[in-house]
Amino acid sequence: MYSLTRIYFLEAYFELVKTLRTPSFVLPSLLFPVMFYLFFGVLFSPPGASNTSAYLLATYCTFGVMGPALFSFGAEVAVEKDRNMLALKQISPMPIFAYFNAKFITSAVFALIIILSLFTVAATLADVRLSTQQWLATMAVLLFGTLPFCALGLWLGLTLKAQSAPAVVNLIYLPMSFLSGLWIPLQLFPEFLQKMAFALPPYHLAQLTLKVQGLDDGHHWFIHLGALVFITGFCSIFAYLAFAKQSEA
């Protein structure tokens, strides 16, 4: 009766319900991207420059989907680890992967809601027009694009202390977003910062998302995909090591 899939399913469901009942998580992660896009993509966008709005739609979506991934893994895991919730999950008969899967599902659901609300704002208030394939492709790239940030978040969550985790995650999330050109197009940055962006994961996700509309910087898609796969792998290894270490304790 209690099959493995059902365990995975229930764990994800309860994780999602728990998160939805946490306003300090829900409100910032859903409202900030929309609010920022309204300010920079709609209100301050120069009149008639409809592709600015389309460009910023891609970058603010990237900014939006990173948030839940980094926080549900980074901050939440740190807290649950320090409160011994993670240890409890580990000694329960549930496979521990169900716990991480639940976190991933939760951040994907949040990402989806963020993407859909930004799409709606862009289409209604900023006159962004894309073909159905482009809307779908943008959504797909962004949903898969949460993975590297889940991995990064997990590594941070397993390494950091509960008290410091939210602050550290923010200190990584916000400057990294800005320096990857998610808030203001990278072309407006000094050249050395433009070059530096290449080393930042959000830059690569934003470029892949922009590629759907042909507004990217013109590098090959496999460079960006490669960078994202590399980061996912890199962070996963360190997350695994951190997990192994904390399981011993």
């Binding site: 059902r6 399913f9 229930l10 469901y13 309860f14 999602l16 120069p46 009149p47 008639g48 420059a49 592709n51 389309a54 460009y55 659901v109 989806l112 859909l116 799409f119 709606t120 289409a123 027009r129 894309l130 073909s131 159905t132 809307w135 779908l136 959504m139 197009p185 072309q187 050249e191 042909g214 507004l215 013109g218």
Partner: protein, 428 residues
Amino acid sequence: MPSNRAKIYVLVLVSLAIFVIALLPEPQVRTTPSFVLNNITLYDGATWHENAKLTIFEGKVINSEQAPKNLPTVDGKGQYVIPGLIDAHTHSWGQALEQNLTFGVTSVLDMFTDINFMRANQHSRQQTTLQARLFTAGTLVTSKEGHGTQFGIRIPTIENAIDADEFIAKRLQEGSDYIKIVYDAEPEKQQFGMRFTSISQDVLKAVVKATHIRNKLAVVHVMDEISALHAIESGADGLVHSFGNSIMSTELLSLLAQREVFVIPTNSVLASIGQQQRGRKLLQYSPLAYKVSSHGKSGLMSSFPPNVGNEEYWKNALENTRLMHRNGITVLAGTDAPNAGTTHGISLHDELAILVEAGMTPTDAIHSATGAVSDMFKLPHVGKLLPGFHADMIMLNEDPRIDIKHTQTIVKILLSGIEINEAELNDK
């Protein structure tokens, strides 16, 4: 049971996603029409035809014998039909392409724009959207702190001839349709109250060569006789400015003719440098003045500071255009909009008027903004109303052969055969 509720949640979420995606708007794609336009006086980009008909099939001109039978016919009695105009020297951003279209300028040759604008708008030249078709040099070729670097767009620059090959390969990879090079033989002298560095003639030669190897055109921005001579020696296909600081020498004129180098004098901006205030006059007298946006008006009203040029400068510039035409040099119409005193669209009609003042017949002037541009820049689909070309055209109420200002008596603008609805354009 939570699992049932969970299933409902999953269902709701998925259907919400599908619902939102399905409702999201797509770009308007217009179906290109097919029809026969009868009873017109037609200029096809090369010659005039009285009592002509034009067969349009799916947005393109076709040979009437190959047309399917029973195409709808449109009576164009009393109308003069000429190809949509091409401005051979503009700088595009913001609403430039929409603004051009409002004035019957259905294609533009941009001579430097932000590559993001290029990427976003270049592809749409094959489709039918509410904008002029964009052909562009993309990023221009200039030296560090050279002309072109002062506009706040960060661009790569070139210093050494050895880098030319890689530099040009990069531009063409970005999507430049042709290469525009800025060259000044005497950068130590101030021009127009500003001082810029310039690439050397060696770099100019190397850049032209790298462009020609890749079968693209290299056009050069020069603003005086000596730089023009160097550009021609270096193999330039065209010059994108004339000048007014001296009268062209016979040496320059014969070299231009001999090497078949075309020139886009950009009289509109040279007139503005020479304090002619033609933009202001356009606003007063052009029947198209009512279409000029407030932004366009401020462009037309503005002028260069009086210390950069005077009446003399303009007289020389006009004389140079006259000399080039008389010596059989191909002169193309281009405005350099939106420089001071000009704006997109309406200024090209004034450029045609200037070309007639410089001694061209009205037909020559129209040719310089249609068929000649198509020939010189090797644009196979725009600038003519011959089989295979886009059905981009303007229909005029009065005969432009009698008075070039009649290009401003526009009744209809067609892009790929689709009548441009101005209300819709302005709404955008």
